[in-house]
Every structure is written in structure tokens, then in C-alpha cells.
């Protein structure tokens, strides 16, 4: 039963990442990330309550507080200041190609699992591997700093899902990861201020 819910959550995450690849408006991407974090947090909370593990419950609440509530609101607030950053304008790969590649990464990670990791555990491992690769691909396929930050956060979410499969990581490590995220978002928002990105007017008229 728990594995089935895990599969459901994993595939919803994959779909949401495909949706993020599709969108060109940054605020939609941030809201999509918000949704995916809520789903992940509620999943961890439910697993914690079912298995009566207080550490997992605390971790879930921390996840919801930081990733689902604080980070998306903070990003949405900062994006209002830089009005020229609200859209992804230079898509190096093209949207449809990046969607196809993102989905093919799922095939790739399933292949990777069946060639290299099939002795180590359950077939479900390929789902977090997929999410991690898709997050990395989100970083390299987008040129906007916000999208790249969200790609990084998606990778972090996939590590959380990994934690569900390989249970037994010490609580302090996982909680540390959650709090690290806050630091990363703050630091990267400073870097974003320094980074000069602008829209070329001609590119806006493309197509």
C-alpha cells in the first residue's frame, strides 16, 4: 500500500516537472514547485503517522514549512521586483525538445536501474533517479536564474524521496538538508541580483 502511494507521488512529481518544462512564466513554475512540495510533505507526514515515526513527522512539517510555504512565497515576492524576469525568454533547447528529453530521462534511469542497480533493491529506485536527472536537466535547459534555482530544489525533493526508500538516515542529517535549503535560496537570491539577465527585444518577437 505504502509503495503504491510512493509510486503515485513519484509519478505526480514527474508530471509536474514536465509541466515546469512546458511553462514559460516563472510564477507558474514556482507555484508548480509549491504544489509538488505540498504533495511530498503530505506524503511524508502520512507515512510518519502510519508508521508512528516522530522524526519523519517533524521532517514532514519542516519540509512543508520551508519548501511549500516559505521558499515559494519568498521567490514570488522577489520576482515582483524584477519585472523583466517574469518570463523565460531564451530557451536554449526549445520547449518541445526539452519536454521529450525530460521524459526520455525516465526511460534512461529505468535502463540504468535495470543494468546497474537491479541487485540492490526495489524497482522503485528508478523514480527518484528520474526526478534527480529531470531536475538537473531543468537547470541546464533553462537560462533564467529562477528556473535554475527551482531545478536545484527539485533535485533536493528527489533526495527526500530517496530517503524514503533507503530509510535509516540520521534525523539530524535530513533536518540539516532542509535548513540548508533556506541558506541556498537566500544566497542564490543575492547572486540573482548581481547577475545581469535581460530580454532582447527582437527575441521577444520570435515566431
Amino acid at each position: 500500500m505504502q509503495n503504491n502511494i510512493f509510486i503515485l507521488v513519484g509519478f505526480i512529481q514527474i508530471i509536474l516537472i514536465v509541466f515546469m518544462q512546458w511553462q514559460s512564466y516563472i510564477s507558474t513554475t514556482i507555484k508548480t514547485f509549491d504544489l509538488s512540495s505540498w504533495i511530498l510533505g503530505i506524503f511524508l507526514l502520512a507515512i510518519g503517522i502510519i508508521n508512528r515515526e516522530p522524526t519523519l513527522i517533524i521532517l514532514a512539517i519542516l519540509t512543508i514549512l520551508t519548501r511549500a510555504i516559505f521558499i515559494p512565497r519568498y521567490l514570488l515576492k522577489t520576482i515582483k521586483k524584477d519585472i523583466w524576469r517574469v518570463r523565460e525568454s531564451k530557451n536554449p533547447l526549445g520547449v518541445s525538445l526539452s519536454i521529450i528529453i525530460s521524459i526520455c530521462l525516465a526511460l534512461f534511469s529505468y535502463g540504468l536501474y535495470s543494468i546497474a542497480l537491479s541487485n540492490s533493491g526495489s524497482v522503485l529506485e528508478s523514480i527518484p533517479i528520474t526526478l534527480m536527472l529531470q531536475g538537473a536537466f531543468l537547470i541546464i535547459s533553462k537560462s533564467n536564474a529562477y528556473n535554475q534555482l527551482i531545478g536545484y530544489l527539485v533535485m533536493e525533493n528527489s533526495i527526500f524521496l530517496f530517503g524514503y526508500i533507503f530509510s535509516g538516515l540520521p534525523f539530524i542529517v535530513e533536518a540539516g538538508i532542509v535548513l540548508d535549503i533556506l541558506g541556498i535560496v537566500l544566497v542564490s537570491s543575492i547572486i540573482m541580483r548581481l547577475r545581469k539577465e535581460n530580454i532582447d527585444n527582437e527575441e521577444e518577437l520570435y515566431g
Binding site: I99, I103, C104, G207
Partner: protein, 320 residues
């Protein structure tokens, strides 16, 4: 007591009449709901019948450059759609007389043949806009075909056959398959395909604005009877695809699986009610979304493809 073959033949005829007569009504209701959502009174729901009867009375004219192909294409296409009407599960979940003629792939091929004929006829007119539409329709068609094939392959995996009736029966009786993510993703992929094939809004707006025309421009040189047949054919096509979406993909319940004329007659009303719900969803989509630019259509198609591929990935990754 009537023989079973005769009953099947009668039901085939009933199904044909059901689809052919109600297809314009479905479009009329769609237009009416769209106008009501925009707080307008809108045309009567029977408007499409009036249009068709008016067109049938008019004289046909042909461009001087066209060959006979241009003249006979509407009749051929209409005949193909009538054949499809006889072989798809619309009011019954057991095969009618012509049911064994084609499977899903055969049905897909007939749909493709009809649209290819339509494009060739459009090229035959040598009207610039028709040729523009033909090129757009074919470049979109090239990319939607892989989605359709993946959907058929996944249905083959679910049912072990490519027969729409078997798929309907399996989904009706097996909760395991009905609620499996494979099925849900396939249904989502087919919904994307349905929007593209019926020319609904994110893809094509229903206006005479040639910048976004795809399918409408193929009809530009037709007039009179031929135009009426083409229009009627496209209504039937939309009606058939919507029915396949309802009866096979999303809501296969209540479709009679046993031979019983009374049940089939009752189901005809239920089926139209299901259609009304789908039509309402389409009206909502048509009034709330805005049209994509042409290059963005391919993003839309690739999301549909992603759903179909995810169904396949899901099937293999969770196969313990």
C-alpha cells in the same frame, strides 16, 4: 423471435442513424453553451441542421483548376466516416455486424486516410490558403501519429488485443486496470489528441482568421453539397472521437455488454448525457483558453506524447 444476426444488423443501422443525426446537434449544443457562457443568447441548437439543409439546396461550383478527385473526395470521406460509425463501440459494448472488420489500428488508418484525402483535395484547388492549411495539418499530423500509436500499443498491453470492444469490457469489469495510472495517463494523452483532432481552442480558433487556420482552410473552395458533406463529416468525426474517448478511455460504464435491445435503447440516452458532459467541458475550454501561436502547438503535442510515454514507463517500472 428474430435471429441474432438480424438483430445485430438492426442495431448497426440504429447506431448509424444515431451518430449521423445527432452529430450536428452535438456541435449545435456546443456552440450554444459557448455563447451562453459569454452571456449571449446564441444560435438555436438546431442551427447546424439549418446550415446543412441550406447548403444541400445550393448549387456547387468548382475551381477551374481542379480534377475529378476534388469533386469525389467529400463523398469518399463521408463514406469512410460512415464505415467507422459501424465498427466503433458507441451504443453497444459487443461487436455489431461490421465490428470484426477493423481493430483500433485499422480505425486509425481509416481516419488517417480520410484526412490525407482531404489534404490532397485541398492541394488540388491550388488556393494559397488551402495549401497553407494542408501543410499545417500535415506537420501537426506527423507529430500526433506517434501519440496515437503509443496509445494503441499500451492498450494492446492492457487487453492483449487491439479491439476497442475488448478494451471497453476489460475496463468496465476490472477495477485494477481502471484505476491504474497506465490507464489514467493514456486517457490524458488521448484527451490532448482529442483537442488537436477536433480543432478545439488551444490549437485552433473557430474563426475566419487565416493566421491561425488549420483545418477550416482545407474547405475553402468547396460549396453546395460538397461543403455540406465535408462539414457533416467533420461533425461525425468529432462525435466518433468523443464517443471513443467516453466509451473506451474514461467512462466505460453502463455500455451494454449483452445483447438486449431495450438496454441498448436506454443506453443511447445515457450515452448522449455523457456526451453533454464532455461537450460542456469542451465549451469551458473553448471559452477560457486562448489560442497558441503555431509554433507553440508542438509544445502541446509533446506534452501529450510525454503522457503516452509515461504510461509506458509506469507500466514497466512498477511491474514487480
Amino acid at each position: 423471435m428474430l435471429s441474432k444476426d438480424f438483430e445485430l444488423l438492426v442495431l448497426s443501422f440504429v447506431q448509424l442513424i444515431y451518430v449521423v443525426t445527432l452529430a450536428p446537434l452535438a456541435v449545435g449544443i456546443l456552440r450554444k453553451i459557448e455563447e451562453r457562457i459569454e452571456s449571449k443568447i446564441g444560435p438555436s441548437i438546431f442551427q447546424e441542421y439549418y446550415n446543412l439543409s441550406k447548403l444541400f439546396k445550393k448549387q456547387s461550383t468548382y475551381p477551374i483548376t481542379t480534377s475529378t478527385l476534388f469533386e469525389i473526395t467529400p463523398y469518399l470521406i463521408f463514406a469512410m466516416y460512415l464505415l467507422l460509425t459501424l465498427v466503433l463501440p458507441i451504443i453497444t459494448a459487443f461487436p455489431l455486424t461490421f465490428g470484426p472488420v477493423v481493430d483500433f489500428i485499422g480505425g486509425g488508418l481509416i481516419f488517417a486516410a480520410a484526412s490525407t484525402l482531404k489534404k490532397i483535395a485541398a492541394l488540388d484547388t491550388r488556393n494559397n490558403y488551402s495549401i497553407l492549411g494542408a501543410s499545417r495539418a500535415s506537420s501537426i499530423g506527423v507529430f500526433t501519429e506517434p501519440i496515437l500509436l503509443l496509445i494503441f500499443i499500451m492498450f494492446g498491453v492492457i487487453s492483449g488485443t487491439n479491439n476497442p470492444y475488448v478494451i471497453n469490457n476489460i475496463l468496465q469489469t476490472s477495477n485494477l486496470w481502471y484505476f491504474s495510472l497506465t490507464h489514467i495517463f493514456i486517457a490524458a494523452a488521448f484527451f490532448f489528441l482529442l483537442i488537436i483532432e477536433t480543432g478545439s481552442l488551444p490549437i485552433e480558433s473557430d474563426s475566419s482568421n487565416e493566421l491561425g487556420m488549420i483545418d477550416q482552410s482545407l474547405n475553402l473552395e468547396y460549396s453546395g453539397k460538397e461543403l455540406a458533406l465535408n462539414d457533416w463529416g467533420s461533425y461525425i468525426k468529432a462525435f466518433l472521437l468523443m464517443n471513443v474517448f467516453i466509451n473506451v478511455f474514461t467512462f466505460p460504464f453502463f455500455v451494454p455488454m449483452q445483447m438486449n435491445i431495450l438496454n441498448v435503447l436506454i443506453y443511447m440516452f445515457i450515452n448522449f448525457f455523457k456526451m453533454l458532459i464532455l461537450i460542456f467541458i469542451f465549451a469551458l475550454i473553448n471559452t477560457t483558453l486562448s489560442k497558441y501561436r503555431l509554433m507553440k502547438i508542438f509544445d502541446f503535442i509533446s506534452v501529450g506524447f510525454a503522457f503516452a510515454l509515461i504510461a509506458m514507463i509506469f507500466f514497466y517500472t512498477t511491474k514487480m
